[in-house]
Symmetry: C2
Subunit: 466 residues, 2 copies
């Protein structure tokens, strides 16, 4: 493909995407393909010669799209949203077209500096504490996912707790971390990756709202110290995956300060709600956190992958992750005058993710995201009222922001059957979870194009199937 053909096909693909998104509502939300069915429609071996790009686009329609679960569909109520907006799509296109690798400041200063600025812009928009601002001792970085941010937080905490011994001689096995059974699986995964292990993660008891009990945390820490172990890390969640429970971060932070534990706050979806002043309670206590993450790719229309990860003390993070072979040395880096983001993450290379943040914040401004969040929260409030009014259902957790968890009063069998039937219909998509040992159906309202009528239709579907 040459430049002229790129222009032609690029225009065609932009139009194809616009049409895909325009007509998405008419498709089933999730694919009904059987395992292996997509692959079976494609040649088992690569082509020996070039094919017309029109054929590729045709196969996109014929084979790929029917095999997708449409995360941008207005009736997607599953997992968390992973919504995108037009300027963010263009930001990804620009990043791909420029094809620069921002591993060091010197390998593209603008990629690093725009990323730092976007972290500071987002800090202002979310009213995050100044200690995370890049102009002080802390700073932000764009990671791919909250899982990666969590792992980096664990590594920085481990570095601080062991004064660098872990990086030199390995992890001792005496380190202990704390979270709740409601926290995201990435916390346990990160501890496994870091060589700390699942057995050294304490699942602190939760209250009847699925939020961590600070007294139980303090007791668990005391018991571990008594046993000669080394408590080092607490992951609090501002909006859990299953039920959007909010751990009481201020009280947890008090325990962490007393016990000198690293406090990481995972606000992957809910942190974005702080774009709206009335929702800034989601960040209560974050001012005392050592690290924090939230995902514009979840609820702000900035394409996956885009996780904002902030630390109050970047020195700990850099000590954990910095390695400097000769071929990566640069004058600016040696002088300490710049940020080299390779030291803020596990991978070396990095895409120019800041472009999609910049494009979105400038081309749309922050208001459309705020309006969307408010619409979602209003709709969820309505849904919670509908659930309360229907004797067949009950709330499985206190509703929060844009999430409602319900169950069928006839028990797990009925709830599981409802999730399965609703999802098989193709008319909407929900996620099943387990709360208090019982099945629940989550309705997470987060699509950029999700309007009241989609939520109403989803509710009617659930009623009809019950």
């Amino acid at each position: 493909m040459d430049a002229e053909e790129f222009r032609r096909q690029g225009h065609a693909l932009v139009d194809w995407i616009a049409t895909y998104l325009d007509e998405l509502e008419q498709r089933p939300v999730s694919s009904t393909v059987a395992p292996g069915q997509v692959r079976a429609q494609l040649p088992p071996s690569p082509p020996a010669a070039a094919e017309p790009f029109e054929d590729v686009l045709a196969d996109l329609d014929r084979v790929i799209v029917p095999g997708l679960t449409h995360w941008q569909h207005p009736s997607f109520f599953a997992y968390f949203p992973c919504n995108s907006s037009y300027p963010a799509i263009l930001g990804e296109l620009a990043a791909a077209g420029l094809g620069v690798n921002g591993m060091l400041w010197a390998t593209s200063p603008a990629a690093t500096e725009l990323e730092t600025l976007m972290c500071d812009w987002m800090l202002e928009l979310l009213d995050l504490p100044d200690r995370f601002r890049s102009t002080g001792a802390g700073g932000g970085v764009i990671q791919g996912t909250a899982s990666e941010a969590t792992l980096c937080a664990i590594l920085a905490a481990r570095e601080r707790a062991t004064e660098g011994r872990s990086n030199r001689s390995g992890t001792s096995g005496r380190l202990v971390a704390y979270t709740t059974g409601q926290a995201h699986s990435s916390i346990e995964k990160g501890l496994r990756v870091a060589g700390i292990g699942s057995d050294n993660l304490r699942l602190v008891a939760v209250d009847d709202r699925f939020a961590m009990r600070p007294d139980a945390l303090a007791a668990a820490v005391a018991a571990d110290r008594e046993a000669g172990l080394v408590p080092f890390f607490v992951a609090a969640t501002a909006g859990t995956t299953s039920s959007l429970a909010f751990d009481p971060v201020p009280a947890i932070a008090d325990v962490c300060r007393t016990e000198r534990l690293w406090l990481h706050v995972d606000a992957a979806m809910a942190g974005i709600a702080a774009l709206c002043p009335e929702h800034r309670w989601v960040h209560a206590g974050v001012v005392q956190a050592d690290s924090y993450c939230t995902n514009p790719h979840k609820w702000m229309g900035i394409n996956f992958d885009c996780d904002l990860f902030y630390v109050a003390d970047r020195a700990a993070l850099l000590a954990a992750l910095s390695i400097l072979p000769e071929y990566l040395r640069t004058a600016a880096g040696d002088a300490g005058a710049v940020i080299d983001y390779r030291d803020w993450q596990v991978p070396l290379g990095r895409r120019f993710r800041a472009l999609k943040v910049w494009f979105t914040l400038r081309a749309d401004g922050p208001e459309p995201a705020r309006a969307m969040i408010r619409r979602h929260v209003d709709l969820a409030t309505e849904v919670a009222a509908w659930v309360a009014d229907d004797a067949r259902f009950e709330l499985a957790a206190p509703p929060a922001l844009n999430l409602v968890c319900l169950r069928h009063v006839d028990g797990d069998g009925a709830t599981d059957a409802l999730v399965a039937a609703a999802n098989a219909s193709g008319a909407a998509l929900f996620t099943r979870t387990v709360l208090d040992g019982r099945s629940a159906l989550r309705i997470c309202i987060g699509g950029r194009t999700t309007e009241r009528r989609h939520v109403e239709a989803a509710w009617k579907l659930l009623q009809q199937l019950s």
Copy 2:
């Protein structure tokens, strides 16, 4: 931005990218901005309202582009290439436009199945061993970077060596890994992340070609066993970063088989050379490896990020990385009928990276990449001859494929000054490294648009500055 505006601005941005790439040769390769200069040209705070997209594009030209190091520039000879092609850019655009998250098979079957198929296609094109094919006990996955692939290899090896104990109770500190001082920094970084630590990495002696000495490996393993340690992992490099040295993988594999060590082969750039039958020697011994990675984003024109990571026994990888909370359970996953790629990587979420591989292999076919690789290798062979003919220079390592390492005969001061002056000129970009304790200048020829005239000009520049 609405759909209509997206179409209009999308066309404009496609044209902007085509023009950027067309005119790239006229720009200096690397930016001359001072630290902070890019940021200073942008507002310190986010806009309160939407701005015309034309203004964003104008700032891309005014602020961002002058702050870039142009990795797609034909006179970029630094690091490794990170080259891209037009269909790959469109693949990224399509992935962003679809906005699906392929964390599970069920969350978009086509994303998973196309990725598996692309790994199998690439396996055929690179003539990799059948044990890495997804239809057997092994399989491939697209990671973001070789660093992430290496970490996953370490975790799978650790899982096998400790029979799962590490994931449960942490890393013992008795595990020992082996590579050479020429291997990529990501191996040491991965061992640190995994809680094994730098002290438990042995840098095995190399021969006069900077390749690992298998006898030294065997001796190091024996000494560690004698000391009561647990050797578990060997990272061999097929094409080191500094000098493109090739560790003797067949002999290393013999040691690994005897000693029951996991063998990972890092062929991040050079593995792609196997697209050409005459270069398939780069994969000697890989048939005995437990895991292997190579990066189409380095030398095949498939945009960063795209690392192919293959394992012979996917069970070890899955055991290391699988965690299954209720909200991620699916019928297809529970039945074991599908691949859930979340278990093949550290992050949970994942972009639809397979699209750019598919677009490139179909729209261009494999021949343009083969022709490009042959051109680069021919040019590097010429450069090596020019170095040999100029009394001011000497080769710092045996030339291999597309890399030539040279030094000035007047010593490190002269070599360092040459690198600095050449890079400051903006006419070309090189990387300095250290080989045998002495400075060297690397000329890595890997640009998609790099022709003989660019290499000649670069050589003349080096001569003029010497």
